[in-house]
Symmetry: C2
């Protein structure tokens, strides 16, 4: 049988990294590779209690039946109220679409906006999963310049901004760099994009994971009309529920609803009912999120300590104020993908940064995830990694 | 803000029918419109017990964490074993992909196979949700001829079969016609498609709802290499779980996995773990499915009885052997969409058939769903519908 795949399907390549990482899922491997939240943060008792509440009432029929494409109405309303309070801005339930994880939002946004060869602005590096979603619709990527403070709004050409379909950005504790965009740059970016009618796609899965609980203003509060905000329950409840949401102008939401209906009809009702039961009770998140911040902050400090202790001076990294990742820059002539092969032979894994650059033009970076690794393993893993890097530098 | 939607998004239209039906969700309306399974069939106690089992073990961490795009391995294995036994054919777990409802399978298949203006064969009429999914990739539809026994394989031109990307068919108790394809036509279709390397997409959500439990051979067992089989838990467990699966050649599955990863990463882990707990215990489906068949058969007989009692002789319908739908043909000059407006004013709703024809060339048909309507309401609703139709005929 010869399968006549579409051009879009032919262009999808199996990730080499994913294949490499597949062989490393044994127990004795120290993995800094995954973007998984720590299972220690899963509110297991609350989820089970939420299930019991749903099953003890007539809600159970709604939780098991087909539901509206837009999502479970009480959950949409809860999100609207939560954001209105958190971000000091009026959000209404009909500006919200529930999605099967933020990854689905990225797919739907690509579907809604990208025609072949359309220009899409991205940070450099950016979230690999976003590139994979958008790739399906074959855009032309333009990398926006950035430094340690994140993207540089002034570097965006006005003509380019006018002609591009959207700018995809993760302003808080970016994946993969861990960087947070400064307030002044947020303001400049809002002005720049409003001026040029450029759609901002603000992906914010890590915004709540600010170690000191000092939230900076979300872009959608600064550029309301032209921003599509993506929120997620994956890092504050549990990713296995696959629950995210989109906040945008009603017209844009109604287009996403049409596309979502054709894509999976609706997000599972049961998981939406469960999430609603948990978050709507006793201000649950206000007690739960600080615990996650505490755990992640501690592990981050631990990894930073290990890096400072073992890494040669030629290696640089950032000190994140939140989130799940540290971004490491090796000397220019080193290749992180080659380093990974060696690291695997010593039972250490991480993700090389190359595939996270739309143009794949930088090969000496790597991403370290620290939140799922116990502290003694962080120390051991970083020590071994430093040894391997040191051997390369001395060659 | 002017949204610069993609061409594909601009082409998506809000369904007029959906808008009409939205206003009819009051309690006093008798709805023959929905394609919803009866909530009386939801195995509520078993689902709750399954949740408790998952939460009582270490499985809970897997159920709440990110999981493989392919789906939960034990569930894939269970499906492989179930189908191997049911259909007397060897199916392996790596030929199976778990999807977020069959609707997602339709989207992924469109993504994987359709380039703009590619030919796609469909039954006429066919499932509206499939047309909506495929429309996103802008194919050219070719309607395959059919009669009361379903599609007519000999009517498919060999050259057309060679050049088309796939043929989408629902062989069992089709949506919307309720028809089941005969064994001889299944065999002829298998020969025809194998000869021409034509991909068959066999959508089978209703296959288990055979009132007499006499399953006819699935197309994928007759044309294994070139058939993509879609199964669903929506009609035998609960649609709110959003769980379906694809069975196909490993190469095709691996392409769908890449596309699914970019579309929603994976189907929620929790719902997969729950479904696995239910179906893997004590041969659950072998006791549960007969109850659904019994209920649906009774309601079907009831509606057939009401139709025979009230409808004028100019109106025709089929007598389904399974599934959830009866297909009604009005006199040629009657328009079912106009009839719907009148019916709504008398608090009866149904779905007009027009949008279910790829070419929208037939306006005198309608679909009646009977499984969610209590028997006294079936009688009252059909009586009123017959009155309205009678008035039209006498005009």
């Amino acid at each position: 049988m010869l399968w006549k795949f579409s051009q879009r399907a032919q262009a999808q390549k199996s990730s080499v990294i994913r294949e490499i990482l597949k062989v490393t899922e044994q127990d004795d491997v120290i993995s800094f590779a995954g973007g998984l939240p720590s299972p220690d943060t899963f509110p297991i008792a609350e989820i089970q209690s939420a299930v019991n509440t749903v099953f003890a009432s007539n809600d159970v029929y709604g939780a098991l039946q087909y539901g509206p494409t837009e999502g479970y109405a009480p959950l949409r309303q809860w999100i609207a109220d939560y954001l209105s309070h958190r971000d000091q801005v009026a959000v209404s339930a009909d500006e919200i679409l529930i999605v099967t994880g933020s990854q689905q939002a990225l797919d739907l946004i690509g579907k809604a906006l990208i025609d072949e060869h359309d220009k899409v602005l991205v940070e450099s590096p950016t979230f690999l999963g976003a590139l994979q979603s958008f790739n399906q619709y074959n855009p032309e990527y333009i990398a926006v310049e950035s430094d340690q403070e994140g993207l540089i709004p002034e570097s965006i050409d006005d003509e380019l901004a006018k002609s591009a379909k959207f700018f995809y950005t993760i302003p808080n504790f970016q994946n993969p760099t861990g960087r947070r965009l400064s307030v002044s740059r947020r303001q400049a970016l809002a002005v720049k994009t409003k001026l040029n009618d450029l759609v901002l796609v603000e992906d914010d899965p890590y915004g709540e994971l600010d170690y000191r609980g000092q939230r900076l203003p979300a872009l959608y509060t600064l550029a309301r009309e032209n921003t599509v905000y993506l929120g997620s329950f994956s890092k504050i409840l549990a990713p296995g529920l696959r629950l995210g949401y989109v906040v945008a102008n009603k017209l844009f939401i109604s287009k996403l609803v049409q596309l979502k209906q054709a894509s999976d009809l609706h997000t599972p009702s049961l998981t939406q009912y469960i999430a609603y039961q948990i978050v709507s009770k006793n201000n649950f998140l206000s007690q739960h999120i600080p615990k996650i911040r505490q755990l992640y902050s501690t592990r981050c400090q631990y990894m930073l300590h290990s890096l400072a202790q073992y890494m040669p001076k030629e290696v640089h990294w950032n000190e994140p104020e939140g989130g799940m990742f540290i971004w490491v820059e090796l000397p220019q002539n080193m290749n992180a993908t080659e380093l990974l092969r060696e690291a695997i032979s010593r039972k250490i894994v991480f993700v090389p940064g190359e595939t996270m650059f739309a143009q794949r033009d930088k090969t000496n970076c790597l991403r370290l995830a620290f939140v799922t690794v116990p502290e003694e393993k962080i120390d051991r893993g970083i020590k071994i990694l430093a040894e391997i890097i040191n051997q390369h530098i001395k060659k």
